[in-house]
């Protein structure tokens, strides 16, 4: 039997794609400018089928790439000649336990669906990537996704309690946050599909806050806005979210159907959300208002009603979409700097953009120092694509020089491999490879991602494969 035939026997004829025209959809993810064609694509319906697929791929020794919704922005879900293992059909919310405030879900559940399902219990799933209406919880786990409200509530890592994982060799392991032994769940979160496939997740649900207030402050200088961010954090106020948008972003939003009524003549706006117990909230709102004005805000709008708050958020949530209208392609960049470095980084980014003749639009999680300098461009214009590339390399280097990192939430994938050795020593990268080899000694799961292969010591296939094989035999009672 061919591999495709074996897979069809598991998932049914219509859920294996082989023809070039059908695979076209899966050539890219959210990152523009990259196209990689999988050898075939397979879409299991449930965890049992997914496991059978993983085991079939293991016995065939075939590389594969897990994929959720394909919204990733670093090329993580691209499969270059490998089998694409699509998980979006595994979208069952298995159980919500309002008492323990946890949910058990399949990996293909769309982020926002969980929050919708938890609403009736007064709960929500806190990590809220801007792509939350499309991205999957499995993809979130694999990328350790963040979002605006992660400033106060923490990123995916802080909300995952357990994961049932199919290791690349077909062994199933249940990783729990409170396991004795090493923090393998912590190691798995953010492993970008390279350590195996999550078949089931248990995540925390967070009680909805008693009260929420959203503020929009507008500034005539981006530097003032950046200083305000540090001042709010330093004052001991921990907003639920603290987001910044610059003039270019505001302009794009206001020219789109997502217009939120942002002041288009502002150099930057801050969107600040304060939430929690009603008691003490006004003090924080007043504190934010005062700090914004003391740092030169022209105006501070305060929204307390859900509709008014939603309107203020709409522009932020749809900012990428609005920017997408400016040009055929959009690079959504992601880096983090220490918070006190924001003002100088924003100035450097603007200078780098000007020097390369490209328009940088900044819209980002300012409270965390998590920058998203985005550039709308035309990827088919060779000269423009080169200038965008140069600008991005310079911006990443500036972030590294400022003591920051090359990705705060979008992952390394393919796109950021080139920056890894500017950030980490060869020994550190080798250590990362050693960890990967524990989970995937054959190096078949999402190969070629995250750590440049030249930093990975040559593996000794014989002993390691033997170990992997033994592990699988143990776990399956030798049934395979």
């Amino acid at each position: 039997m061919t591999l495709a035939a074996s897979l069809r026997a598991i998932v049914g004829d219509t859920h294996v794609l082989e023809r070039a025209a059908e695979l076209l959809v899966y050539e890219s993810d959210g990152l523009p400018g990259y196209h990689r064609t999988p050898s075939l694509a397979v879409f299991p319906a449930n965890a049992d089928e997914a496991l059978a697929v993983v085991r079939t791929l293991a016995s065939a020794g075939v590389p594969y790439v897990p994929r959720g919704a394909g919204t990733g922005l670093s090329g993580g879900a691209l499969a270059d000649g490998a089998v694409l293992l699509g998980l979006h059909r595994l979208k069952k919310i298995i159980a919500i336990d309002p008492e323990r405030r946890v949910a058990r879900v399949e990996p293909g559940v769309v982020n926002v669906s969980l929050t919708k399902a938890a609403t009736k219990f007064g709960l929500h799933y806190a990590p809220d990537p801007s792509s939350q209406t499309a991205c999957t919880l499995g993809g979130n786990l694999a990328e350790n996704a963040g979002g605006p409200h992660c400033l106060k509530y923490g990123v995916t890592l802080n909300h995952v309690v357990a994961a049932k994982v199919a290791l690349p060799d077909g062994t199933v392991v249940e990783l729990n946050a409170d396991d004795s032994g090493y923090d393998l769940l912590g190691a798995f979160v953010g492993s970008e599909g390279c350590f195996g496939t999550a078949l089931e997740l248990t995540v925390k649900l967070t009680p909805n806050p008693e009260r929420v207030v959203t503020l929009l402050a507008d500034f005539t200088s981006i530097d003032d806005a950046a200083q305000t961010v540090s001042a709010i954090i330093a004052a001991g106020i921990l907003p639920a979210a603290l987001e910044m948008m610059d003039r270019a972003t505001v302009g794009a939003v206001e020219a789109s159907i997502y217009a939120a009524g942002y002041p288009t003549d502002a150099a930057a706006v801050l969107l600040v959300e304060v939430d929690g117990a009603a008691a003490g909230l006004d003090e924080d709102v007043q504190g934010v208002d005062r700090i914004c004005r003391a740092h030169g805000a022209r105006d501070v709008r305060i929204a307390t009603e859900p509709a008014a708050r939603a309107k203020l958020w709409q522009g932020r949530k749809k900012a990428f979409g609005a920017m997408g209208r400016l040009a055929p392609h959009l690079v959504v960049q992601d880096a983090v700097v220490p918070r006190t470095k924001l003002p100088s980084l924003l100035a450097q980014i603007s200078a780098i953009g000007a020097a390369n003749g490209v328009q940088v639009c900044n819209v980002f999680h300012a409270g965390d120092g998590n920058l998203h300098p985005n550039i709308p461009y035309n990827a088919n214009d060779r000269d423009e694509a080169d200038r965008v590339h140069h600008a991005m390399v310079a911006i990443m280097q500036a972030c590294i020089d400022a003591g920051g990192t090359i990705t705060g939430e979008h992952g390394v994938g393919l796109d950021k491999l080139r920056y890894m050795d500017a950030l980490f020593t060869a020994d550190t990268l080798d250590g990362m490879c050693r960890l990967r080899d524990v989970f995937d000694p054959d190096r078949r799961a999402n190969p070629g991602k995250v750590v440049p292969i030249r930093y990975c010591r040559e593996r000794r296939p014989n002993t390691q494969m033997a170990e992997g094989g033994r592990r699988m035999a143990d776990a399956t009672g030798g049934q395979l």
Partner: protein
């Protein structure tokens, strides 16, 4: 000859030599909890890490700090307090132990429920693994997904994979108001659950038994309320509504944190997870020389 390396390079050569000779090493920072709840083989040679001390980088506006692993939790607390900040580690056992050991053992404390476990607070480490390689995963920024997460791997690895020499941590601003109350009750565990789920949860609450807080102190719940004045006022009302509440001094937490705690029984791992654990140990300490025996 005492093994007391003065630099990361010296530490790396000590470990490399020990690995070549397959000589066990017992990592010691401040030596306050040497058995760490699990015995290290008796013949392991002490390796003192106290040279890796002090503040390496602290820019208060970033709300992050990088310190030498042997710095005590008390010193970290004092240094950050000067800027109205703190790292809410407050581990069980008290503040004499080192920051490095707190991370290495992932020792939480009464604040963890509200303010995060060690794995949530650590941003980056520098460490020398059992092959003598120096690793610097993570960083000093508060969000970071660059590369596979060796930081989480080292946190809670009990010094069995690497000797940690530096730790970068997330800080918070100290709350404007911070009060401790003792609620006298014999239904303390229930009250604790109830307060944690209230709209004004405390940052810590722990059941205390008679005598824990001094001769004749009653059974009850020790509660720590923190936030701005209006929040704490509301939280205080909730606590008063729950029973006979007496104001206590912040020092009441010391006996609670240092009291002997029942050792968590280590659950048996599933064989496949056990195999992954063995694989990790083998990948970072193939000669089995770092804190031999400590992970069981």
């Amino acid at each position: 000859m005492t093994l007391r390396p003065a630099s990361v390079a010296e530490l790396a050569s000590v470990i490399t030599d020990a690995a070549a000779a397959r000589r066990g090493l017992r990592l010691i920072a401040r030596g306050t909890w040497l058995d760490g709840g699990a015995p290290v083989s008796a013949d392991a040679e002490p390796l003192y890490l106290d040279a890796f001390d002090g503040i390496i980088e602290y820019e208060p506006g970033d709300l992050t700090i990088t310190v030498g692993a042997a710095m005590s939790v008390a010193e970290l607390d004092a240094a950050t307090a000067q800027h109205g900040q703190w790292c809410p580690l407050a581990p069980w056992g008290g503040d004499d132990g080192s920051v490095g050991a707190t991370i290495a053992t992932a020792t939480a404390g009464p604040l963890a429920h509200a303010l995060g476990l060690p794995r949530d607070l650590v941003l980056g480490v520098e460490c020398v693994d059992g092959t003598g390689k120096t690793l610097r995963p993570g960083g000093k920024v508060v969000k970071n997904v660059a590369g596979f997460d060796l930081v989480r791997l080292m946190t809670g690895s009990w010094g069995s994979l690497a000797a940690i020499t530096r730790v970068s941590l997330r800080l918070r601003a100290r709350p404007a108001v911070d009060e401790t109350w003792l609620v006298v009750t014999d239904a303390a565990a229930d009250l604790c659950q109830r307060l944690r789920r209230s709209v004004t949860p405390p940052i810590a609450c722990e059941v205390v038994t008679r005598g824990t807080l001094g001769a004749n102190s009653p059974d009850g719940l020790l509660v720590r309320l923190a936030g701005n004045a209006a929040y704490v006022a509301a939280a205080r009302d909730a606590v008063h509504g729950a029973g006979d509440a007496q104001r206590a001094d912040a020092s009441a937490w010391t006996p609670v944190r240092t009291a002997a705690r029942p050792q968590a029984t280590r659950a048996m791992l599933d064989p496949a997870v056990r195999a992954l654990n063995d694989g990790v140990k083998h990948a970072f300490d193939p000669s089995g020389i770092l804190n031999p025996g400590i992970m069981g």
